[in-house]
């Protein structure tokens, strides 16, 4: 078999991936962009409306910027705490003072692998106004006279979501920091100790700067992941609903409506406006792209 007759071989080997990508990657991307330019309920025909769905995103009724703001708030509050907590635990686990390292690594990582639906429902039960464990404890300890309406007030509902996200996410940052710590050369630590540097000084001046690439990676992936937040707040705030009862979308005053939840509700939930839903998805895509771009620049700057 000569070379000319074997030209098809690379194409043949690449084609399964390319076809998969065209069918399940590129086509949905292009099609959903086309849908975002139409008014469509999935049943009747599509009516081309140009950019009016994108224009609608600037209307307060679309809740687009409110949902982006909520999502940013959750990311801005939870990510630093998750990182700090992850770093502290990773440092402790990496130190020589902690026994049973594998066990504690597993225990701290477990919340991250709990399915988001279960997390939402679990916190819903914990923070239930009347029957929740948290209120029972607070009342029992005499800290409050009657249970706090955690999920009924905007501020407390947000606090619960932040707590939930921190609990779920710190294990993820811990694992990355553990890997980062393993890559910090031991001789640098030893040299600093010989020079008389305290443990805190070593951590601050050697460990932390060398963990910068890991930190940048966590920030970028954390922001992207944070923008995709949906199941946890949705289940937390609507999970108790059964039968014909209608849940309040986005929690009290839509304080916890995330961008993806807004998209889901617009396209598949209380309304079926696929066009607006697709426009929200593209709006979110632009925001994620901007943050990823900025993050990548920072990451690149660090590497250099």
């Amino acid at each position: 078999m000569n070379t000319a007759s074997r030209k098809w071989v690379p194409y043949a080997f690449l084609s399964p991936y390319v076809l998969f990508y065209l069918a399940f990657g590129l086509f949905p991307i292009v099609f959903s962009f086309y849908v975002s330019l139409t008014s469509w309920d999935g049943i009747g025909g599509k009516t081309f409306v140009g950019l009016s769905n994108y224009k609608y995103l600037f209307d307060p009724d679309s809740h687009f910027f409110q949902s982006v703001g909520n999502t940013l708030l959750f990311v801005a509050v939870t990510l630093p705490v998750q990182m700090a907590l992850g770093l502290i635990i990773a440092t402790l686990l990496y130190s020589r003072w902690v026994q049973w390292k594998g066990f504690f690594q597993l225990i701290n990582f477990l919340p991250y692998i709990v399915t988001p639906v279960a997390v939402g429902l679990m916190f819903n039960l914990l923070f239930d106004w009347q029957a929740g464990f948290v209120n029972k404890v607070l009342v029992e300890l005499g800290l409050v006279d009657e249970g706090i309406y955690w999920l009924g007030e905007p501020l407390t509902a947000r606090i619960v979501i932040v707590l939930m996200l921190i609990w779920k996410g710190f294990g993820y940052t811990m694992v990355f920091y553990l890997a980062g710590l393993a890559n910090v050369p031991k001789d640098l630590h030893e040299a600093a100790q010989v020079d008389g540097a305290s443990a805190l000084r070593v951590f601050w001046s050697i460990t932390l700067p060398l963990l910068k690439p890991v930190t940048a990676f966590i920030v970028i992936t954390g922001i992207i992941g944070g923008f995709q937040l949906l199941e946890e707040p949705m289940l937390l705030l609507t999970g108790a609903g059964m039968g014909s009862s209608v849940a309040v979308i986005g929690g009290p005053d839509r304080c916890c409506l995330t961008t993806v939840w807004n998209m889901y509700d617009t396209a598949f939930g209380s309304t079926t406006r696929y066009g607006v839903g697709a426009a929200i998805a593209y709006g979110l895509c632009v925001i994620i792209a901007v943050f990823s771009f900025v993050g990548a620049r920072i990451y690149k700057g660090d590497s250099e």
Partner: protein, 459 residues
């Protein structure tokens, strides 16, 4: 060298196989449907082919007036567990019709319908429709008119209030399955203590309208030192008042403001009187309230004793059922509709007709714990007789299906009602936590929410 050559051949065959599989999977939309059809080996749509061999015929089928010529398999989307007695009775009558259940959660039915339609997929032959999703599904305009050819549903066999509720533009698009008339259940010892009687008929004489009810509630609150409430949740009150509204909330896209304002005003009155506890419906606390002694009344649809009160209150003979002030109302319940173009609509219709519109079906379903909307069955007191341990010896069947049913009405709903339901849940939550939130603010909030969901709605 030979080995290399062989390896290349194997790799090439592998790649071709993978590609063929991928292409087959991508083009599988149409053929998948055909595969499904073949499994039933059914004759073409609408046929009652006489040529169908009556293999191993079941004499029971012929005796019970069945039709063995109807043959094939129909597909139903449902979340409901199988009703074994009803299915066995149906199979006896139609031994050659098979049912294929596809499990779809009640709340997912509209979504699944929409995505199936949008992707050009195949719809089932029957859809079970939960009341909360009814308006949305009806609005899709995908259901057959069951009062027209070839179905010719006999609407006289249903209750009068069913017809407007399951019709769109004068076309009957679904047949209600399980009864969902609702009354008012109450805890007898509490009623005796605060109202001097626990007899349902005497209670009905005391509570002539909601104003009297609110006044009595204030007395209870005072006597109990603020510990005993009339209802556990404002959501319960809303369900009742909404169910009793004199007219539809919407006439097309026009909101009937006076009707809505009437309901909201009464809700505010209930809230201001302090006679309703602040529990959220369907929460553990709300469920637990049925086993306690802090809440006298609760709305009670037909399914409430079996599915809510029973599991949450293990004490027997503690409850009684009465006609609410203002009469009975509808709460929950499900219906069946046939999508336009269903391949086995004829078979699907036989299932609906048998289970929801025949005496045999009504009796079989009753054995499975379901009361159907087949009206003639309720002429027989033996059929309506139904007791439940929590309600002691009270014939709640008679109370539900005779006394409450006689005062029940139902209103048609459209897609705008689903938006209003969502707006009302926000209003209810705010009413419960903010005592300064009044009728005016509630109406403003509803207007804002409705405008955001559907700009076409007019006031």
């Amino acid at each position: 060298m030979k080995t290399m050559h062989g390896m290349r051949r194997i790799a090439a065959i592998g790649v071709i196989g993978l590609l063929a599989g991928l292409l087959a999977a991508c083009g599988g939309g149409g053929s998948g449907g055909k595969g499904g059809e073949a499994s039933g080996s059914a004759p073409p749509e609408g046929s009652a082919s006489a040529s169908a061999p009556a293999s191993a015929s079941d004499s029971g089928g012929a005796d019970s007036g069945g039709n063995e010529d109807l043959k094939g398999e129909f597909v139903i989307w449902t979340w409901e567990p199988e009703h074994p007695t009803a299915l066995a009775a149906f199979n006896k009558k139609y031994p050659n019709i098979k049912m294929k259940r596809v499990n779809v959660a009640a709340g997912d039915v509209p979504k699944k319908l929409q995505t199936t339609l949008a992707s050009g997929g195949e719809l089932p032959d029957v859809i079970r429709i939960e009341r909360g999703q009814k308006a949305k599904i009806f609005d899709m305009n995908i259901l057959e008119d069951l009062s027209a050819e070839p179905y010719n549903a006999d609407t006289t066999k249903l209750f009068d209030y069913d017809i407007p509720a399951f019709s769109v533009d004068g076309k009957l698009v679904a047949i209600p399955d399980d009864m969902s008339v609702a009354g008012l259940a109450y805890i007898k010892p509490l009623a005796k203590e605060y109202f001097g009687t626990d007899n349902p008929e005497e209670m009905e004489k005391i509570f002539t309208d909601w104003d009297v009810f609110i006044e009595k509630g204030k007395e209870v609150l005072q006597k109990s030192g603020g510990k005993v409430y009339m209802f556990p949740s404002l959501g319960d009150v809303n369900d009742i008042l909404k169910g009793q509204r004199p007219q539809s909330y919407f006439d097309g896209n026009k909101l009937n403001v006076s009707v809505l304002e009437g309901v909201v005003s009464l809700l505010v009155k209930f809230r201001d009187a302090g006679i309703v506890d602040k529990l959220d419906q369907w929460t553990p606390a709300w469920n637990a309230s049925f086993g306690g002694d802090k809440h006298i009344f609760v709305e009670s649809p037909v399914w409430m004793p079996q599915y809510v009160i029973g599991p949450n209150d293990k004490k027997e003979d503690r409850w009684a059922l009465m006609v609410p002030p203002g009469g009975g109302f509808i709460r929950g319940g499900s219906s069946h509709g046939i999508p336009k173009g269903a391949k086995h609509a004829d078979l699907a219709w036989k299932w609906i007709e048998f289970t929801s519109m025949s005496q045999e079906g009504a009796e079989a379903q009753k054995t499975d714990g379901v009361f159907t909307h087949y009206k003639p069955a309720y002429d027989n007191p033996d059929f309506t007789r139904w007791t439940w341990p929590n309600f002691g010896s009270q014939d709640i069947g008679k109370k539900f299906f005779v006394d409450i049913s006689a005062t029940t009405k139902d209103m048609p709903e459209n897609i705008n009602d689903t938006y209003l339901d969502e707006a009302m849940s926000i209003v209810l939550q705010t009413l419960a936590k903010d005592s300064s939130f009044g009728v005016e603010q509630a109406m403003e909030r509803i207007e804002k929410e409705l405008k955001a969901k559907s700009p076409d709605i007019t006031w």
